[in-house]
């Protein structure tokens, strides 16, 4: 029995199958070998960075409290929009900050990306609560847990009749910020790894200087980073299926499947982005 009564909420946790893991590992190894073939050690390191970035995005999306359509009617807790889209908004805002700080070095750019994503979520989650409280007169109440794990607030007595809860409890707020930060971190990492590769390859292929190809390298890396961000966010959204309240939601336990899927998808997409210029060079 869950704390709220009714059947135990397993959250539909399904462990990854052995076959799935095996195929995933094979695909990742093939991608790593190809990365080494395309750009030697630099390619290998870049692909590992891309895989880590993809995993961070896929994992981070599970933290973001998204209530979808029911949240827009105060029928379920969370933010009233789509999982992938909200995570993308936060992660891309992080990418904006990370790309801006790129000339200052890897650690600073990654930190800038994480803070950028977290900042968007912090402001958005606060504004959601402002609308719920001052626009609709509804206090926050989780439908998945009886007590906020951080503040200890109890929820069942605040929940409106006939709903699954509403608003954004503090644990969801914290989850949103962590999710945004992880998304911004992952997106920035992918961008920086690809930027390094393109800045190394493009001057040789086009016979120009690094300064001259900078706009092309930045654009390519940025577009691929945005694309890979959306891919991993959508993968995680499929794993979540619909809505999630944050790290306290039973659905959160599904993340191992998304992490494996994000790693494999990032490896496969990453090899295309790394090998792109090699292919262009061939033709």
């Amino acid at each position: 029995m869950s704390a709220l009564g009714g059947p135990k909420q397993t959250g539909g946790v399904q462990s990854p199958t052995g076959m799935g893991i095996a195929i995933g590992i094979v695909l990742i190894i093939v991608a790593l070998v190809l990365a080494f073939f395309f750009a030697q050690m630099a390619g290998l390191i870049a692909l590992v960075g891309i895989i880590i970035g993809g995993v961070l995005i896929g994992f981070g999306v599970h933290f973001v409290p998204v209530g979808g359509a029911p949240a827009a009617m105060g029928q379920a807790p969370g933010i009233a929009t789509g999982v992938a889209m909200l995570a993308a908004g936060a992660g891309l805002a992080g990418l904006f900050g990370g790309a801006w700080a790129a000339p200052l070095g890897l650690p600073l750019a990654l930190a800038g990306g994480a803070v950028g994503g977290g900042l968007l979520m912090a402001i958005t989650c606060t504004m959601v609560n402002i609308i719920y409280v001052f626009g609709m007169g509804i206090p926050a109440a989780s439908g998945k847990v009886a007590k906020d794990p951080i503040t200890g607030d109890t929820f069942p007595e605040y929940k409106s009749q006939g709903t699954e809860g509403h608003g954004l409890p503090f644990i969801s707020w914290v989850g949103g910020v962590i999710g945004g930060a992880l998304g911004g971190l992952g997106g920035t990492l992918i961008y920086l790894e690809l930027l390094d590769i393109y800045q190394a390859q493009l001057p040789t292929i086009l016979d120009t200087t690094v300064e001259q190809i900078a706009p092309v390298a930045i654009s390519l890396a940025g577009v691929f980073a945005v694309g890979m961000f959306l891919m991993n966010a959508v993968l995680a959204a499929y794993n979540i299926t619909g809505t999630i309240e944050g790290p306290h939601d039973p659905k959160f336990k599904r993340f191992p499947r998304a992490v494996i899927a994000a790693a494999v998808a990032s490896a496969v997409a990453g090899i295309f982005s790394i090998g792109l210029l090699e292919l262009v060079g061939v033709f």
Binding site: A80, G82, L86, G89, L95, P215
Partner: protein, 299 residues
């Protein structure tokens, strides 16, 4: 010093443009009924409630605005490459992007509403004529201000991304902020205005949206009039704060501590918002108290 003062001025201007963009985006999406509350607009005829609300939610707000703003930014970028004045280029790019939005709105309304024919929901041509242009006008404001903001970030603050890519990034962020903040107000407070204030809509009431106005049937222009009072401005403040703080922490504090100043200030801002959020949450619990069931069933 002069550089920082100039940067703060640009930051404030970008924040102001973002605020207008957020407000226009939410009002546009509510008039066009594109956010998550549109699930009820789509559901209502299936429950026997025929209505005159616009219906164009074939894409979420973030990807839709990602497309329109990237399109506006891309066209403006191309016009600027042709040596056209930046302001004129941004106006032209945004205007062309708005035509795409208009085509999207028209086909989405016709397609979504025609799919409800078997439930007796008519396609109202007068709705299409009177409301598509209003959503287009609001979309123009949102796209123009966002593209102008992106242009400022590149030309005045030196962001490395090209204009179309920055348009995509901030277009998606605009849709995310606008839909997150504005949707509950449109969904709960407007579509379910007959339900009790201060409580969520019972799931049993789903589809029973308000369909009548003070005179005659309610339409989406009435909804835009309503959400422009709170949902729109709140979305504007949300997006404006995001853009302002993101730029402000970088422009002012990046020179400190070898660049770590911007990161530290970012974390401090997040903590301040955590305190504000917690204060609001506790205030609501104390002020409104636990839920008490109404004497008569509200559904």
């Amino acid at each position: 010093m002069e550089e920082i003062v100039f940067g703060i001025g640009i930051t404030a201007l970008a924040g102001a443009l973002a605020t207008v963009a957020g407000a226009a985006e939410d009002t546009e999406s509510d008039i066009g009924s594109q956010g998550d509350p549109n699930s009820q607009v789509q559901l209502a005829p299936q429950m026997g409630y025929i209505h005159r609300i616009f219906n164009k939610a074939v894409a979420g707000e973030p990807p839709a605005y990602g497309l329109w703003v990237a399109l506006g930014a891309g066209l403006a970028w191309a016009f600027m490459a042709m040596q056209i004045n930046p302001i004129l280029a941004i106006v032209l790019g945004s205007a062309l992007a708005v035509f795409v939005q208009g085509v999207y709105a028209t086909t989405a309304y016709l397609g979504r509403t025609a799919s409800l024919a078997k439930f007796g929901q008519p396609v109202y041509i007068d709705i299409l004529k009177s409301m598509t242009t209003v959503t287009m006008a609001h979309a123009f404001v949102a796209i123009f201000t966002t593209v102008a903001m992106c242009h400022l970030m590149i030309s005045a603050l030196g962001h490395p991304f090209p204009l179309p890519l920055l348009g995509l990034v901030w277009g998606i962020a605009l849709g995310a902020a606008g839909s997150a903040t504005g949707n509950p107000f449109y969904g709960k407070e407007r579509q379910y205005q007959e339900q009790k204030f201060g409580a969520g809509v019972p799931i049993s009431a789903s589809g029973n949206i308000v369909r009548y106005a003070e005179a005659g049937q309610r339409n989406s222009l009435d909804n835009g009039f309503f959400s422009a009072k709170l949902g729109g401005p709140a979305s504007g403040i949300c997006f404006g704060l995001i853009v302002f703080f993101e730029l402000w922490r970088t422009v002012v504090f990046e020179p400190l501590a070898a660049g770590w100043g911007a990161v530290i200030i970012g974390i401090v801002i997040i903590l301040i918002f955590a305190i504000i959020d917690r204060y609001i949450e506790v205030w609501a619990r104390k002020t409104f108290g636990p839920y008490t069931a109404p004497e008569e069933a509200s559904s």
